[in-house]
Each structure stands twice: as C-alpha cells, then as structure tokens.
C-alpha cells in the first residue's frame, strides 16, 4: 500500500485528480490505529506482529494507541470472559466512528477451547460488538494477523463513504464501519 495505489487521473503538471472517496479510503487503510490491549496468549502474537521482525507498521497499522478515543481498530486478541465483556463493550463504544474490529484467535471468534465447558467465556466477541474480520487459530501466527489486517484494508477500500448508496438510518453514510460482510 502506498501512494502509487491511489487511483489518480493525469492532469496538468503538478496536479492530481481523484475522487474524495478514493482519497478517503486510501488514507484510512494506510493509517489504521489499533487500540493497545490484549486479553490472553493471542496478545503475545499481536505484540510480536507489531515488533520489528514482522513490523505491522509496514501496513500502516502499527501505531497502537493507549486510548480508545484515538483508535479506530480493536484487535480483540484473546479469551473474552463474562467479567471482561462489559469493559470491552464500553471500550468499543468509546472508539469514534468509523471503527473496525478484528476477532483474533479461536476464543474471540467462537469461544475456542472453552466453547463447551467454559462457563465463564463469551462464545465469541461478536455477541457483544460487531466483528469485521474473523481470524481463527490458537493462537494465529503474526503472519495471519498481517493477513487479517490486509483483509480489513481491502474492506476499507470498498467503503466509498460518499458514493455508496443511501445514507444509513442514523444519518450516517452507509457502510461507515458497521457493515457486516463475510
């Protein structure tokens, strides 16, 4: 992902022409700010993905923010317990729109090894917040997280905030981070 990916129309020298949607999507996918938090062992892989060897920053997604108000991506990395669920929900609500969620690991996707006998585990973080990308694995390797980030970037590229159909019910542009897509 780089400026060369920005679809531009050749114009007069020193002038680039593109649509606002293209420019917005390009800017968003190139500067994803994830929230700094981890819940279990998946968080170790997430930290690893952010460290120099895998370098999440190559995809513009390495600026982990210490506050939900500065973030636009939640990587739910680990087991979501019932005790933690209200906290995660509140953090999600504190993230300004547009916002995205990656469910990282088997636990965040569906409860993982606690699916049958985990009385204390929420059977998938999608029961409390909408999820954009599901990333299975126990835990997924850092490369898999990079793949999930790239899948999310592909999704961001399709947002087309201003031209995508009708506005949403709350007056928001359609597809502003809430769309459910496989």
């Amino acid at each position: 992902m780089g400026p060369q990916n920005l679809p531009v129309q050749p114009a007069a020298p020193g002038v680039l022409l593109t649509t606002l949607d293209e420019a917005l999507d390009w800017a968003r996918r190139g500067s994803i700010w994830p929230m700094t938090f981890g819940l279990a062992c998946c968080a170790i892989e997430m930290m690893c993905a952010g460290a120099p060897h895998f370098d999440l920053d190559r995809y513009g997604a390495g600026a982990f923010r210490p506050s939900p108000r500065q973030a636009d991506l939640m990587i739910v990395a680990g087991t979501v317990t019932f005790k933690m669920a209200p906290v995660i929900k509140r953090l999600y609500e504190q993230v300004p729109d547009p916002k995205w969620v990656i469910a990282m690991g088997a636990c965040a996707c569906r409860g993982g090894p606690y699916y049958r006998h985990g009385y204390h585990v929420v059977k998938g973080v999608d029961r409390i917040v909408p999820v954009d990308v599901y990333l299975p694995g126990c835990p997924p390797r850092p490369e898999a997280l990079l793949d999930a980030v790239m899948a999310l970037q592909a999704k961001m590229d399709r947002m087309k905030t201003f031209s995508a159909g009708k506005p949403g019910p709350a007056g928001e542009p359609a597809g502003a981070g809430k769309e459910k897509e496989a």
Partner: protein, 163 residues
C-alpha cells in the same frame, strides 16, 4: 534437617491426638487429615515448632467429593514448605458438603488470603475469620460455585447468552 513424612505425622499425632485424624500414605503424595476446627492451631504448630518450621504456605485449594460417605464432603488442602528445613507437607481438612465452614489461615499465613478467596469463590467454602471473603475470579454477582461437581452452567450472564 529435612524430616521424612512418617516422622512429621507421628509428631503431629502425638501433639494433637484429638484433632489429627491420621495420615494417608498409599495414594500419591501422603497427607495428614486434621479436624477443621483445629486447623489454625495445627498450622501454628507446624509453622513455629523447632525442627518443623513450615514457613511458607504454598497453596490452599479445595476438592469437591459429592460421593464421599456422609452426604459428600469438601476437602480443603494446604500445601506447606519449609525453606529452612527443606521438607514439604500436605494437610487436609474434610468438611461436610452441606455446610463447608473452616477457620481461616490468614492470621497465621497472610498468603492464604487470596487462596481462600479463590476456594470460597469456586467451591463455596466459608472461611471464618477471613478479613475479606469476596469472590476473586468470578464477577461479584455470579451465581453458584463453578468447581462444584453439580454446578449448573448459566444460561446467560449480563444479557449475553452463555450457550
């Protein structure tokens, strides 16, 4: 100098003929069973007695045995270590399953505080004299004690389906 288990067991039986109900040596780690009421004085003795000096409480935990005779029992298990003498000991108190009440070990071993909270949270053992007996792992409004064998999983918690 490290003492062997039979020596420790004999010492305890001699000192507490009423409270110490005997030693079990034929199942894995040997243990000594003591009456619940006497746990503080037995622990005090184990900690202070010259030659024993169990100065470290490694853990307090519990076992639910619904099939034990007399309507089932809950065992509270204490693992002790002497860092100066180099010996270990397992002490058990067997409580009735209907009303498991045990004196707290916190006045003797402050390390027992969180361990007893966990045993209370997961098995429902009430430790009398504990300074802060609250749930430690489950949310405070959780229903039931999850490590009981007859524990029923919740249908939902906080509006989130648990099935």
């Amino acid at each position: 100098m490290a003492m062997e288990f039979p020596v420790i067991a004999k010492l305890l039986e001699g000192r507490f003929p009423e409270a110490v109900k005997g030693a079990v040596t034929d199942k894995g780690d040997p243990w000594i069973e003591a009456a619940a009421d006497s746990v503080p004085e037995v622990l005090e003795f184990l900690k202070e007695e010259e030659g024993l000096k169990f100065d470290l409480l490694l853990m307090v935990t519990g076992v639910d045995r619904p099939d034990a005779e007399g309507g089932g029992s809950i065992e509270v298990v204490y693992h002790l270590l002497s860092t100066t003498e180099g010996h270990e000991l397992v002490l058990k108190a067997v409580l009735p399953r209907e009303n498991p009440v045990c004196p707290s070990a916190v006045p003797i071993y402050p390390a027992a505080l969180w361990h007893e909270r966990e045993t209370f949270d997961l098995l429902g053992v009430e430790f009398t004299g504990h300074p802060d007996l609250r749930r430690i792992l489950c949310p405070e409004d959780w229903v039931g004690h999850p490590l009981r064998k007859d524990y029923e999983y919740p249908e939902e918690y906080g509006g989130i389906s648990a099935k």
